[in-house]
Structure formats: structure tokens, C-alpha cells
């Protein structure tokens, strides 16, 4: 039985050599064409007038404030969503309650709602003619077309990333280890730190990295609530579109290249983690 299985397996990979070569080459070519070429084009355009011009455009006051705003938003959005993701995954994996399926679906909502709808929903709630608009105006609070709106839009869009990574891992692990820790007299926090966290750390890191990449890159929802005020409410992706529309190609693509670098660093970190901890990851991640 095992002999025949082996034979058929080896038959499957003894296709003619040219075929194998062709398949490999076309996969590589397609990846280069669809993924590598656009990124290379962005960098080529950014460096068209030399690296100094590119760097100088990134040093302009409006550009600096866009970069700081994007990093600041990510710095708030990622920890908040990491905490919310852990709490949601915890509740779903460790407890039984009515409406659990509804909660899981709700977490997925931002994946299925178009970002522009998410942005418009915020305007409907907090805009001058929105549900809370009158109250906010009376208390001189600004949500849309100001920082809180941008943060809310980013939080909405990036909400699922951490929870989605954690739920399958935590469901798989069940609650036996935690129960054992509690029986042995550990406090809740001690149990979380010494039992739960080590089990979910790779999934958590993975979710945080994805969440961060999206938080920095989000355009659609943020564009609706930004108001596009230069130096105030323009994030990096919005600034890129603005500069491009002002015929400032080099500045636009320098900013785009920087955003790509930030994303690539995230990607590299992720790959590094996967590569260094391949065994652990395989043990804790099953999807």
C-alpha cells in the first residue's frame, strides 16, 4: 500500500523537465510582472531626479507632518486593536455565550464593507448634520474632518486583523492549559502572561504586523473623513494623491516609496519571524 503511494507520488513529479521549467518560469515571470514591476516603477520615479531631490521632498513641512500623522495614527490604532483583538478572541475561544456566531461575523464586517462606506458612515454619525452632529457642535468637539475621525476610520478598517489571526489559534488550543493554571492557584493575569501569551505570541505578532501595514496604508475610508487640509489632516496615502495631482511626480512617488519601504520592513519582519520560528509557527498556526 505504502509502496504504491510512493510510486504514484514520484510519478507526479516526474513530468518532463521542460514542463517543470516552464511552470516555474511562468510563475516567477508573473510575480515579477504583477508585483515587482509596479514597486520598481515607484522607486524609479522617486529617484528620477536623484536621491537628494527625493529626500528633500520628504523633508518638506507638509510631507513631514503627513509622515508623523500616519505613524501617530498607527501607533494608537495598532495597540488598541491588538488589545481589542485579544479580548474578542479570548471571549470567543474560552467562553460559551449566546450570539457568539454573531460576534464572529461582526468582527469580519470591516473586511466586507467597502472603505468608502465606512467613511461615509462616520460622516452620517458625526458630521454636522449627523446623528451626534448637533451635540458635538454644541460642545465644540470635532470628529470628522479632524484627527478623531481619521483615527476612528483607521480603527474600523483594521479591527479584524488581530482577532482574525488569534481566534483559530485560541480555539484550537482550547482552555485545558488555562484551567490547569487556575487550579494550581495562578491569578488571572499570571495565567495570561505565562500560559496564554506564550501560546499565541506568533499569531499575535503576525496580526499586529498586518494591522500595522493596513493602518498606515488605508486610503478610502480616511479620504472621506480627512477634509484634506494640508499639514493637518493629510495622511501619507492622501498626501501621495495630492502631490500627484499637483504635478509633483517626484515628491508623490518619494512619499509612495517611503510608504512601500515601511510596508516592506513589515513584510521582512514577518518573513524573518516565520523563518526563524518555522517549527513553532507550524505548531501554533493551522490555517
Amino acid at each position: 500500500m505504502s509502496g504504491s503511494a510512493l510510486a504514484s507520488a514520484s510519478a507526479a513529479i516526474t513530468e518532463p523537465r521542460p514542463w517543470r521549467l516552464l511552470l516555474t518560469l511562468s510563475a516567477v515571470a508573473l510575480a515579477a510582472l504583477l508585483l515587482l514591476a509596479p514597486i520598481a516603477a515607484v522607486f524609479a520615479e522617486a529617484l528620477r531626479e536623484g536621491p537628494l531631490t527625493a529626500l528633500r521632498s520628504l523633508g518638506a513641512p507638509d510631507a513631514v507632518s503627513a509622515i508623523l500623522l500616519t505613524l501617530g495614527i498607527a501607533l494608537v490604532a495598532v495597540p488598541v486593536n491588538a488589545a481589542a483583538g485579544i479580548a474578542a478572541a479570548w471571549a470567543i475561544a474560552k467562553f460559551d455565550f449566546r450570539g457568539k456566531a454573531a460576534l464572529v461575523t461582526l468582527i469580519d464586517l470591516p473586511f466586507s464593507v467597502s472603505p468608502v462606506v465606512a467613511g461615509l458612515a462616520l460622516v452620517l454619525l458625526y458630521g454636522a448634520n449627523g446623528l451626534f452632529g448637533g451635540w458635538l457642535a454644541a460642545h465644540e468637539l470635532k470628529i470628522v474632518f479632524a484627527l478623531p475621525g481619521i483615527l476612528l476610520a483607521t480603527l474600523f478598517i483594521t479591527f479584524p486583523f488581530v482577532a482574525r489571526e488569534l481566534i483559530p489559534v485560541m480555539v484550537e488550543q482550547g482552555r485545558a492549559e488555562e484551567e490547569a493554571a487556575l487550579t494550581l492557584g495562578a491569578s488571572g493575569w499570571h495565567m495570561f502572561r505565562t500560559v496564554t501569551l506564550p501560546n499565541i505570541r506568533w499569531a499575535l505578532l503576525y496580526g499586529v504586523l498586518l494591522c500595522n501595514a493596513r493602518a498606515m496604508g488605508e486610503f478610502g475610508a480616511v479620504a472621506v473623513v480627512s477634509g484634506k487640509i494640508r499639514g493637518q489632516t493629510t495622511t501619507m496615502p492622501i498626501m501621495i494623491e495630492m502631490l500627484y495631482n499637483e504635478y509633483l511626480s517626484v515628491a508623490a512617488f518619494s512619499m509612495a516609496a517611503l510608504l512601500a519601504v515601511l510596508a516592506l520592513v513589515t513584510l521582512a519582519l514577518k518573513s524573518l519571524l516565520e523563518w526563524r520560528h518555522a517549527g513553532l509557527l507550524a505548531a501554533t498556526r493551522r490555517h
Binding site: 508623523l68 501617530g72 501607533l75 474632518f145 477634509g227 493637518q232
Partner: protein, 336 residues
């Protein structure tokens, strides 16, 4: 990793807070919510005004800019974008703000000279170098194989001027026959492959993505495209008839936080009519009212042509619902 990350994070956060809070605190701020093609003009005018304002012995003023499609910008102001002044593409967008908020009086347009339009422009054609399709006038736009780029009249002020200029030409050529004008417009829009939301987006589609044979553009936008993207790549074609486009400005009384802010905003708009600002408008390819300080070579760039005015359409109050309202002439034509 954690020991290194924490100070870095703290520094970044502090920097972000400083950058965001610092500009807001120090001085009088004016937020000018404008439409797409005015970016370059207001960049220069803001400097001119800030210097002049301080020379008059006032506290320094910081001017912030927001640009987008005129209709979309009006929408944002209605939804609470706190503009001290709006400088949009056409009166009906500011009318829309007046209609939906209590701040702005319905007769806002009488507040400043020339119907509150400190500069004007018109609609011309931008074609590819050498004019390979031989486009001379509105009639040539519906020739076989010609693709026309214009933004969406629902969201773009410039597109509405485009539409009315074409309509005016068709009406004249057919002795005032509205049915004939309608069928010309239907044919014209059959030649439009894509409707962008704003004038700048349409220019980018035409000039940088290479879509279409002719762009219906603000005169100032067409000149700017020549300047920025190379005069050897495009030609400007001036049609026999076009429209006098009057982009108006208005103060938003409800968004003035202090007397100082109100005074600065008011002066900001009034100073647009000063000879120095008018000369700046002419340099940025707008047709100015007061040419006393403008450079002769700037003025020489504007060709003479017959210009109809919005008054011929009964003003924006009448033209807006009739042509661009829900179910209006544009909707009827575009559905066909």
C-alpha cells in the same frame, strides 16, 4: 527589542502631537476650502496675503488649504468641514451650502464685487500636439473616432461650465432649437469614455494617462498643463463660443471663532480684488478684472472669444436644477 522600541515610540508620538498641536495653537488660522485647479494660485496668494496682513499691523495669520472637486468640497463643508472661507468653482455649490446651513445668507453673492467672483475663466479645448484630429470647434468633438475627456457634472464645477458652454454653442448653431441641442449633447457624451470626479483628475487622465483626444478644460487648467507637462505635448484650441466662468468666493460667518479671525477672513477675500492679487491671478492664467498691475505678457495670453454668461441660463439658481438636478437634462442625456 522592547527596550529599543519604547523610547523611539515615545519620540514619534511626541513628535506627532507637537506637529499636530503646534500649528493649531499659535496664530489666527483661516481654512480656505477650494476646488481643484486653484492649488497653484492660492499657494502664491496665501503668501501674498499673509505678508500684507502683517504689514497692516495685524497678528500673523496661517492659511490652510483644502482642495477637491467643487461639489465634493461643498458637501464636506455642509457635513462640518470648518472652513472660514470657501472659494469654489461655481455659485450653485455655495448656494447648496447656503441652502443646507443657517450660517450663510442666501444673498451671499452680493457681499463682494462682480457677483463675488474675484477672477474669471472660460472653457477651452486641450488637444494633443499638432492637433491630429483637426479639432477647431464644438462641432468637431462628435466626429467619428474622437474621444472627449470631461469630468462628471454632478461632482465637478468645471464640468458644469463645460456642459453649459457646449449647450450654448449647440443652441446658437440650431437657431435656439432645444431638441437639436439635446441631441448634440447626447452625442457629445457618447464620445466621453470616462467621467472623473474633478477637473484635476480629468486633466491627469488626459495628460498623464494618455486617454482621449481632447480635454474640455478650464482655460487656466489648460495653460497650467502646458506649463507643467511640456508645451510640446499639447495645444490649446479656442472654440468660437464659450462661457464666462465665474468662480465665486464667500465668507462662512458661522465658522469664525473670534473677531480677529472674522476680520482676517473678510480681508482675505477682499484683498483678492487688490491690483497685486489680480496680477497674481493673471499670472496663474485667470482672467482678472483689474489689470493695472498685471504683466503685459500675462494678459497677452488670453485670446478674445465670444463668451455667454450664466445669466443667459437664468442664473445658477435656475440652471442648476434644470440641467444638473436629479432627473435633469444631464441625467436624461446620460441615461440614453
Amino acid at each position: 527589542m522592547n527596550e529599543h522600541a519604547n523610547p523611539l515610540c515615545a519620540a514619534l508620538l511626541a513628535g506627532a502631537v507637537l506637529a499636530l498641536g503646534g500649528a493649531a495653537a499659535a496664530e489666527t488660522r483661516i481654512l480656505n476650502v477650494s476646488y481643484d485647479p486653484t492649488r497653484e494660485f492660492y499657494r502664491d496668494y496665501n503668501q501674498l496675503f499673509a505678508t500684507w496682513w502683517q504689514e497692516q499691523g495685524h497678528e500673523p495669520v496661517a492659511i490652510e488649504q483644502s482642495h477637491g472637486g467643487s461639489g465634493a468640497q461643498a458637501r464636506a463643508v455642509i457635513d462640518g468641514l470648518g472652513a472660514q472661507v470657501v472659494t469654489l468653482a461655481l455659485a450653485s455649490d455655495i448656494d447648496a451650502i447656503a441652502a443646507r446651513s443657517d450660517d450663510l445668507s442666501p444673498d451671499w453673492q452680493a457681499a463682494l464685487p462682480h457677483n463675488s467672483a474675484p477672477y474669471t475663466s472660460t472653457i477651452v479645448f486641450l488637444v494633443r500636439a499638432g492637433n491630429p484630429k483637426g479639432i477647431r470647434d464644438w462641432g468637431d468633438l462628435t466626429a467619428k473616432g474622437v474621444q472627449v475627456v470631461t469630468p462628471n457634472p454632478k461632482t465637478s464645477g468645471g464640468a458644469r461650465w463645460n456642459f453649459l458652454a457646449a449647450w450654448a454653442w449647440a443652441l446658437r448653431g440650431n437657431g435656439g432649437d432645444e431638441e437639436a441641442a439635446r441631441s448634440y449633447m447626447a452625442e457629445l457624451f457618447a464620445h466621453v469614455p470616462v467621467l472623473d470626479t474633478g477637473a484635476r483628475g480629468a486633466t491627469t487622465t488626459f495628460a498623464q494617462r494618455g486617454v482621449g483626444d481632447v480635454l474640455l478644460a478650464w482655460e487656466n487648467e489648460a495653460f497650467l498643463a502646458l506649463e507643467e507637462l511640456g508645451p510640446d505635448r499639447f495645444d490649446i484650441v479656442v472654440p468660437s463660443v464659450s462661457i464666462l466662468a465665474e468662480p465665486p468666493v464667500a465668507l462662512m460667518p458661522g465658522n469664525q471663532g473670534s473677531e480677529e479671525q472674522r476680520a482676517a477672513s473678510q480681508a482675505y477675500l477682499e484683498h483678492l480684488y487688490s491690483p497685486a492679487a489680480q496680477a497674481l491671478a493673471a499670472r496663474h492664467y485667470y482672467r482678472a478684472w483689474d489689470t493695472s498691475a498685471a504683466a503685459a505678457e500675462d494678459l497677452a495670453r488670453f485670446p478674445d472669444l465670444e463668451l455667454v454668461t450664466i445669466a443667459e441660463f437664468g442664473g445658477w439658481a435656475e440652471a442648476q436644477p434644470r440641467f444638473f438636478g436629479d432627473g435633469g437634462i444631464f441625467d436624461q442625456i446620460y441615461e440614453e
